[in-house]
């Protein structure tokens, strides 16, 4: 079905079910219980899961398949956001043209950058993309925001103002992005007993787009083109001596992943009609690298897992403070309690990046395949334990 084999279809189905039912799954704790702080089912956060998931899926098409490590992908996300906001400013708050333009502009931009950067490989490529991204950041932050030619609105960020043309904006329309009249910020809250679940229009738009994006990435992974990309990673010499030109292949992969980034950027602007230069900074590019590696490079589900994992714990860790820690460790004797809190303190709240950095190093050193490899190892371990149990069980009667 859908041109996929059974395993891939199952994977797609799991992802689809998880994203569509996320408002339930991510809110397992009653709204006013102490554990409610671990809930992640509110629209803003769920949108972030999905958007960064799309970003990472796209990045993985380049890095996971070809092994070209780009440190400048945030530039495409930023460009997508700017393109969307411009559509809001010029046409109307409808998200469809905005997201389409975001994808197209990011695609064109990545053709430009990819054409130049892909003339080199390895570390040179990484540094070139890094340089391009920083240049785009500087362009957006200052060069393109001068009074004569203001494309990005510099430090303030690009946003929609009352005197913008918005030629298709209806008389009694609200000033917020919408999908043919369905506003992205409209949320239906369902209360079941002590639980409360939020169903947000914006989230569901993102979710559907992500399922499509994920489906497309499976198709790409299983296509001849996907195989060629893996071949490039494996052996470029053999590739060119087999009559295949590596450059258009890598460029195509680069542009596709750039368009994914643009799509993510467009969605970001659709959820909150604002675009700022900081989205393009190289630390933002680094973040998507972290997500992909943490989840599992070159695997289908890895990037989505990585994005969800990082965004979830970022949220949780920033919420925890010393008071909460003292509550948790209240069962310990006072001195030890203070000591434990003192030890954990640097890693929580604003220290989230420290935790992330350490986690990331641990993953690169000990678990290069990321969470997916970790899962597989645990799976194997359980299986082998199960087997040894079986074998003892089956041999015992024989004895």
């Amino acid at each position: 079905m859908l041109g996929l084999n059974k395993n891939d279809l199952t994977l797609l189905a799991i992802v689809a079910v998880l994203t569509l039912f996320a408002p339930f799954i991510l809110n397992p704790f009653p709204a006013d219980s102490a554990m409610a702080q671990f809930n992640a089912g509110y629209p803003d956060l769920m949108q972030r899961f999905i958007i960064f998931g799309i970003f990472a899926i796209g990045f993985n098409i380049l890095f996971g398949l070809t092994g070209y490590l780009s440190f400048g992908h945030a530039a495409f996300l930023g460009v997508g956001s700017y393109a969307s906001v411009w559509m809001f400013k010029l046409l109307s708050y409808n998200v469809v043209p905005a997201i389409l333009l975001a994808v197209i502009v990011a695609g064109l931009f990545s053709v430009l950058i990819g054409y130049v950067s892909l003339r080199r490989s390895g570390i040179y490529f990484s540094i070139l993309t890094l340089a391009f991204a920083q240049m785009s950041f500087a362009l957006a932050y200052s060069v393109l925001s001068n009074p004569r030619f203001n494309l990005t609105n510099g430090e303030t960020g690009l946003q929609v103002y009352k005197n913008d043309p918005q030629i298709f904006h209806g008389e009694n329309m609200q000033d917020f992005p919408h999908f043919f009249g369905i506003y992205m910020n409209s949320t239906h809250t369902m209360n079941v007993g002590a639980w409360s679940f939020d169903f947000n229009a914006g989230y569901y738009l993102c979710a559907i787009v992500m399922i499509l994006a994920f489906y497309l990435s499976i198709r790409i992974f299983r296509s001849p083109f996907g195989m060629m990309l893996r071949a490039i990673k494996s052996n470029q010499t053999r590739m060119s001596y087999t009559g295949l030109n590596p450059r258009p292949h890598t460029l195509a992969a680069f542009v596709i992943s750039g368009m994914y980034a643009g799509l993510a950027g467009g969605l970001m602007a659709a959820m909150d009609p604002l675009a700022g230069a900081e989205r393009m900074q190289w630390t933002a590019s680094g973040e998507v690298v972290l997500m992909t590696i943490l989840g599992g490079t070159g695997t289908l589900i890895g990037p989505v897992l990585g994005a969800g994992f990082i965004k979830y714990f970022e949220n949780i860790f920033s919420k925890i403070n010393d008071t909460i820690l003292h509550q948790w460790f209240a069962f310990l004797p006072d001195g030890i309690e203070d000591f434990v809190v003192f030890i954990i303190h640097p890693f929580i709240g604003k220290g989230w990046h420290l935790t992330l950095g350490i986690l990331f190093m641990l993953v690169v050193v000990f678990l290069p395949g990321g969470l997916v490899e970790g899962g597989q190892r645990i799976g194997k371990w359980i299986k082998s334990r199960g087997k040894s149990d079986d074998s003892t069980a089956s041999t015992e009667p024989a004895e």
């Binding site: 296509s223 001849p224 071949a231 494996s234 087999t242 009559g243 258009p248």
Partner: protein, 253 residues
């Protein structure tokens, strides 16, 4: 007029004359060996043929067309395939995938963006790759990770990958270097079979005289970047110039 014509090729690396006035003509559907002591310029010559190096002067014509200034993939698409000294394969891919890639390359050319088709649904490619694996006697290894095979198997697969493209000229760079005797003999048999059964020209660079004399119909001897003699194996064996060039480095059997 041979299928491959090399005329007056010169190549210098700094002060070193690697190739000096090399002339070579490889007849269609023959097996032509290029031999010579270490540093004779065999590998440099080969690299000039496949586009890795560009000669300073001279011309290299394949089937009436110049190959100079073309990149390796363009030259391959003209019909020249190359087997490397250490097998160059797609180590991270499965054996089947390794074999499918050249099939795609010969069907679709150097680039085609078929990004959403399922590769296993390309019946003609799958059949062709399976047939080639059958020919190479490794169909049972199709799901194996290419890197986990023995060196002999890798070599055989590499030759198979080249053949899958139906090249008109197959270049081999010391295909038996570092192999055990048994593997060497297997490779010789495989190459013999290929040249008998297929419409193909083989040019082989080799150190091992056993291999050369079992396969070649014509032999060119290179020494210090220039061809000394070109003749049939029988005439090469006793040739005084050849003895002089090797001077006991390898016994001429």
């Amino acid at each position: 007029m041979g299928i491959l014509e090399v005329k007056d090729v010169n190549k210098r690396f700094g002060g070193l004359q690697a190739l000096g006035d090399v002339n070579l003509s490889v007849a269609e559907n023959s097996v032509h060996a290029i031999i010579g002591p270490n540093g004779a310029g065999k590998s440099t010559l080969l690299n000039c043929l496949v586009g890795k190096l560009i000669p300073d002067t001279g011309s290299v014509m394949f089937d009436g067309q110049s190959v100079l200034g073309r990149s390796p993939h363009e030259i391959n698409q003209m019909g020249i395939s190359r087997v490397f000294q250490t097998p160059e394969i797609f180590g991270d891919l499965s054996v089947m995938e390794n074999m499918m890639i050249p099939c795609f390359a010969s069907r679709d050319g150097s680039f085609r963006l078929h990004a959403v088709e399922n590769m296993m649904n390309e019946k003609d490619i799958v059949e062709k790759a399976e047939a080639m694996l059958e020919d190479m006697n490794m169909i049972d290894k199709r799901h194996m990770h290419a890197n986990s095979m023995s060196r002999g198997d890798k070599r055989r697969m590499e030759i198979g990958m080249c053949l899958a493209q139906e090249p008109r000229l197959l270049l081999l760079d010391e295909p038996t270097a570092g192999m055990a005797r048994a593997d060497t003999n297997n490779t010789i048999d495989l190459l013999k079979q290929i040249s008998d059964e297929r419409d193909i020209t083989i040019a082989i660079i080799e150190h091992d005289m056993h291999v050369v004399f079992s396969l070649a119909q014509r032999i060119t001897v290179l020494a210090q970047g220039t061809p000394l003699v070109e003749d049939t194996p029988e005439n090469i064996k006793g040739h005084p110039k050849v003895r002089e060039a090797y001077l006991g480095e390898t016994q001429v059997a």
